[in-house]
Amino acid sequence: MLASVLTLGGIGLFAAVALGIAAKKFAVEIDPRELAILEVLPGANCGACGLPGCGGYAKAIVDGSMAPNLCTPGGSETIEKIAHIMGVEAISADPQIAVVCCQGDNSKASLKYQYLGLEDCNAAQKVADGPKNCPGGCVGLGSCVRACPFDAIEITTEGLAVINRLKCTGCQKCIATCPRSVIKMTPLSTTTHVLCNSTDKGALVRKYCQVGCIACQICKKNAPESYQIEKFLARVDYDSAENPEAVVEKCPTKCIRDFSTGYPEGSSFSAPSPVKKPEQVA
């Protein structure tokens, strides 16, 4: 009994002393700024900065290999805090968020066939290039929903992916998984977008979708600085757009949406309050 107590106690004592010495001798110098930055990062390990985790990014900021404004999920607040820790001027960019550029849900866009397989957009895409007649439209099986680390995406009751503008942090995980490249990064301050992803000619688009862009040029004629048309598809020119919402009503197929007036039909999200451009904030 005594022997065993002594033996165990002895081992314990030895280990404690050895660990104590090792801790002193092999101590790793961690820059306190690195710890401070890790503290202010969201800790989502989402990968938006380009590194697999927040720890790696904190280290990279401190050793100067990466800029301090790459954490999109953290937003301008985090960027400012990091800038403060590093003692540099904050260079906050207009945050970018993801938008599903399609409104052709099951009630508005026609199907090639009824898909009954695995609930996964990538798997459905392998079956005759997806169940939709439109080659670019959202198939609504929610691969992006499962990919989003911030729970920002929902599938509407009509089978269309919609991204919550308040929750999206711009990490682009959804873009990486979507087989139809229908999700695009857009500036958060612009609420008006052309929600169509078909580069087919207008006459063909009309055949399969009630809300597709038919490249009629009306938006561009009415607001030349705000719209561009390429490959039979209009898009908002985010660099020079003045007020693209002015022509929303003029679009004959109603494929331009101003999110400040609400989300597509069947979505549970409510219209977000407008977000101003950063320079207006300052």
Binding site: K112, Y113, L118, D120, N122, A123, K126, V127, A128, D129
Partner: protein, 443 residues
């Protein structure tokens, strides 16, 4: 004939779905008339698509070369009737996409090309025979459409000792091979003789499922004189899958990731053997095949001799039309066939059947969670764990799926068929396979 006494052979695993062969098994092969338009896709075989060698406006005869093989693993394509090439453009392909095709307007004469000359196989060497087969564009007619000349060219270090003829036709509903064995027995046996000569071997075994006693009897009677064995096999799907067939007949297991030649076997479909006989003796390329048009959605199921490129709608019309509203159109059999987007698509070289179901024939159940019953594992002829691979596929864990041998899956569909939770197992596994292969290509 007493099948019990025949010592039926088989493999481990598999199952027997209701086979629906009664619709068409007793219908003799009829020649399908000429349609208004023949659509011949360039991609009709495994390997590189053929390359067009005619121009729009060209006059062609039945059997005229219209597209040449692109490389060794590819096959040339010939006009399936006489007429004029009216377009070379993308048309809806059985794969579900618009792919390049040669469109021919038949002139109604259906005249064979005069330049096609047959030969007596006894006068030709093995290599000359193989060249004939290659030039005739012969591919596996069971549905896989692998170019036959490639299978007949084993590398020098592989010693082939057995030729197996696949007359199993284990896919439910299909009866094309069954009818061929009854009605083209002579051609099949002649083709086998040619194949033996090309491979330089003696042993040839025809494997036939026991649900075709008339075919077994006829083949046995005719084959005996030519030293060809006939082996009756247990009625079980997928008895006609290459590796399962080899296992049943020779007891040899083809190792994972290798071809049958690894165990000294070459497998050919009986329809392919018949096509080979025509190619050599008559010089006729592969331009027609027997297709079973069947299913509860067809008024009068039939076995038709169809020109390659005949639109499916035309085949339906020859069978007194549709019997109700079609809900699912399948090219091939119900287990491994390809669902079609429309009846516009043409019959191609691999089209063994056209199967039409109506809504009332297709009960639908919501897929539920896996109840761990293990039925899929028991049914898998490759002895995989379909439920595990499918789960990994759903979670996009492709490395794990690969560790569970996803790539060995032959996509037979037994697991999905048997699953009481109606999970889309094969589709999930195919999805994983595609992802694994894509990853291998990029590395």
């Amino acid at each position: 004939m007493n099948l019990k006494a025949m010592n039926l052979k088989t493999f481990k695993g598999g199952l027997h779905p209701p086979d629906g062969k009664e619709f068409s098994a007793t219908k003799a092969i009829e020649v399908c008339p000429l349609p208004e338009e023949i659509i011949i896709p360039l991609a009709q075989h495994i390997g590189a698509p053929a390359e067009v060698c005619v121009e729009v406006g060209a006059k062609v005869k039945k059997g005229t070369l219209i597209a040449t093989a692109r490389g060794f693993v590819s096959a040339p394509i010939h006009a399936s009737t006489s007429g004029e090439v009216i377009a070379i453009e993308p048309r809806l392909h059985p794969m579900g996409k618009a792919l390049p095709a040669i469109v021919i307007k038949p002139d109604g004469e259906d005249a064979w090309d005069e330049n096609l000359k047959g030969a007596n196989p006894d006068d030709l060497s093995g290599d000359e025979l193989k060249a004939c087969i290659q030039a005739a564009g012969i591919v596996g007619m069971g549905g896989a459409t692998f170019p036959t000349h490639v299978k007949l060219s084993p590398p020098a270090d592989k010693q082939i000792d057995t030729l197996i003829l696949n007359g199993v036709e284990c896919e439910p509903y299909l009866t094309a091979d069954h009818r061929m064995m009854l009605e083209a027995t002579e051609q099949i046996l002649d083709g086998i003789a040619i194949l033996r000569k090309v491979l330089g071997i003696e042993r040839a075994v025809i494997g036939i499922e026991a649900n075709k006693p008339d075919a077994i009897e006829k083949m046995t009677k005719e084959a005996a004189a030519r030293n060809i064995e006939v082996q009756a096999l247990e009625v079980k799907y997928p008895q006609g899958a290459e590796k399962q067939l080899i296992d049943a007949i020779t007891g040899r297991q083809v190792p994972s990731g290798t071809l049958p030649m690894e165990v000294g076997v070459v497998v050919q479909n009986v329809g392919t053997a018949a096509a080979i006989s025509d190619a050599v003796r008559l010089g006729r390329p592969l331009v027609e095949r027997v297709v079973t048009i069947t299913g509860p959605g067809i008024k009068e199921p039939k076995n038709l001799l169809v020109r390659i490129g005949t639109p499916l709608q035309f085949l339906v019309d020859q069978c007194e039309g549709l019997n109700g509203e079609p809900a699912k159109i399948i090219m091939g059999g119900p287990m491994m066939g390809q669902t079609q987007l429309s009846l516009e698509t043409p019959a191609i070289r691999g089209t063994s059947g056209l199967l039409i179901f109506r809504k009332e024939d297709l009960p639908r159940y919501e897929a539920g969670p896996c109840i761990r019953c293990g039925r899929c594992i028991g049914a898998c002829p490759i002895h995989l764990q379909p439920t595990a691979i499918a789960t990994y596929a759903r979670l996009d864990l492709f490395d794990e799926a690969e560790e569970y041998h996803a790539l060995d899956c032959i996509e037979c569909g037994c697991c999905t068929y048997t699953c009481p939770a109606t999970l889309p197992l094969v589709q999930s596994i195919r999805y994983a396979k595609a992802a694994i292969l894509a990853k291998k290509r990029t590395i």
